[in-house]
């Protein structure tokens, strides 16, 4: 033990220099060249949309507080959780009276893992079109077109999911109204 303490101390100190100072400094310097200078893509964080004239984000266990993050961590058979989901379904149907229950995709009534999910599914946007068309007095077809324009395809068209970035869609929606 004794013979190892001092070499270990010195080696630890040098490793700290390498991994705590040099390595992060290198990554930090290179990150300055990125689009957002290493400050993070803040648009990629989900936002809460409570007004009926906007497309809604998914339910969030942390109310889209970006100073924290969290999922509900509810088991799928938890009775309290199922009551909560039922309440979400009922609320959605009140605001979207023209929609059948079977058309609601599961992402709109379940909380995301991070509580900050910036996306909804394409179906999740389409199912809200009727409501927004009515409020904004825009033709449904044009809104459907807008949603399809905003849909992000899988990576290379092959890998992963199709999705809608809610904030970007709503920004496009506001612009659309101005025209």
């Amino acid at each position: 033990m004794k013979t190892h303490i001092f070499p270990a101390l010195k080696l630890t100190f040098l490793c700290i220099l390498l991994f705590v100072i040099l390595y992060p400094a290198l990554i930090w310097s290179v990150a300055q060249l990125s689009e957002n200078q290493g400050k993070g893509d803040l648009q990629n964080l989900g936002q809460a949309f409570t007004q009926a004239k906007y497309f809604q984000s998914r339910p969030s266990a942390v109310s889209y507080n970006g100073g924290g993050s969290g999922g509900s961590n509810k088991g799928i058979a938890n009775p309290d959780y199922l009551k909560e989901v039922q309440a979400r379904i009922d609320t959605f149907l009140v605001y979207n009276p023209d929609v059948q229950k079977a058309e609601i995709p599961s992402d709109l009534v379940t909380a995301s893992g991070s509580g900050l999910d910036p996306h909804i599914s394409v179906q999740g946007a389409l199912v809200q079109v009727k409501r927004i068309a009515k409020i904004r007095k825009i033709e449904e077809n044009k809104l459907i077109e807008l949603v399809n324009q905003q849909a992000e395809k899988p990576l290379l068209g092959l890998l992963g999911t199709s999705k809608i970035h809610v904030l970007k869609l709503n920004l496009a929606l506001d612009k659309f109204g101005e025209k």
């Binding site: 490793c15 990150a31 100073g67 039922q86 599914s121």
Partner: protein
Amino acid sequence: MNTEIFGIIFMFLATVLLAIPLGKYIANVYAENKTWSDFLQPLENLFFKISGIDPKQEMTWQEHLKALLTINFLWFFWAMLLLMTQDFHGFLNPDGNPSMTPDLAFNTAISFLVNCNLQHYSGETGLSYLSQLACMTFLQFVTAGTGMAACAVVFNAMRSTSPTPNPSPVERGNTNPKGGEGFTPLSKGEGQGVRLLGNFYNCFLKSCTRILLPISIVIAILLAFNGTPMNFEGKAEITTLEGVAQQISRGPAAAMIAIKQLGTNGGGYFGVNSAHPLENPNYLTNIVECMAIFLIPIALVFALGYYLEKKKFAWVIFGVMTIGFLILLLPTVYFEMQGSPTLAKMGINQDLGSMEGKEIRLGSAASAYWAINTTVTSNGSVNAMHDSLTPISGMMTMLGMMINALYGGVGVGFLNFYIFIIIAVFISGLMVGRTPEFLGKKIEAKEMKIAIIIALLHPFLILAGTALACWVFVNNPDIGWLNNPSFHGFAEMLYEFTSASANNGSGFEGLGDNTPFWNISTGIVLILARYLPIIGPVAIAGILASKKYIPESAGTLKTDTSTFGIMVFAVIVIIAALAFFPALVLSSITEFVMTY
């Protein structure tokens, strides 16, 4: 739908295809052959010179363990110091996060020290930027290096096939054994029937500088260019489209996330780990982070093949691991993509799969794939909340950790698998009535005792820990630990101890685990479950290495055949999986029967 399946097939194939050349490279690094990274040699030599270490001085297995434990012991104090003084971290704590309580600091320091990264805090509110770098990132590098160094010792021991325990001084290039010019003095233990197995510090530092560091740099830069923050300003404050103020936590995340994925550490920068849109911004980063999880664990299997020049043996090991992996993976992907049965009963369309606790940009298939990846290796990072997985998937993630040797953690995963190999050799030997031999060395009572103790330690820690937690819970029904009632609540406690004992670090995070009971009990489990499974295999390998080498004959049990692969698989099923069957019946299986 199909693009989601393509995504995971792509990730698996790409990982294996990268792991083969990486394995060759790792074997060359440990064998001190020429590699492209030799330009780092002067830096490493400088480190050794300042530290007063002679990297060429070979060590016995006991000395390896002494060096390993000593340096780990020092890191523990460094971590405790940082975590308990966060109030004083000044400009490196711009969000003003408080110092940890002693029990939380103990748990956190231990858990990062043992490469587990069980997190009873949340990154955004629990750590300063200084702690994220100087404690977490630092330990994520060096503990992964420790595991790989221990693995390298076992590789060295398995390679020792010369008939005499130690090469004579003449064989070692000493022309004049009596001293004088060109004579290297005998190391301690040399010539006493003790095999020398390389230098611990050398294996450790090279694992860090040659393997972990270069790959981490690539991943970190890729993350930074995809929107992961790497800055030192505090929280951002933005106004949302609806005009509400929103705070956003940031910090030096990209550097930390890269090594967290690569070193099978898994402790996320943000509370929800790689489910966070800044920690894992898109599907591309998800592919990269997911591949990083088990790139090195697979590469080490191939490295063994190159190092021992027994490639077929490596493929047998890889085959056993992959079959076990697929048996866990396929049902998980199926059930997660099929969706939640309870929501389906309520009339909600489940085309997207079970989306509670999952992210839309990743989808249910990639989340299921990650869940099994992270639990069969001892990574423990998550991109979906495991607490909300469907029951069978939850069970598969636990089984991955209960076996803990299908790929496994960097270095230590192979050590666990080595134990199963030893047991399988012994049982096979008994079945055919021969003395069991492995790579030309007899396996006898002493090695078997160590192997069995290590193999049974894991179920013992998990089941005894869970039993203790249940006892406390039953006597204090108002203790408020559980986020879910009934069988799923039991699963939360079982998962926590499984994760601790497997040095995994993921959780059924609904469990209220930042209490003295959980901090201290899992802290103790973490220490035992890390160091004993390192000491055991290194000791076995060391003892075997110093035994007489018996050349292969017609009567030798062949270890590079599929028959032997099946034996190892059977041992894993019987020892690891069946030990947990009753506990799994009480949790996930009953939950499954009741919800479907």
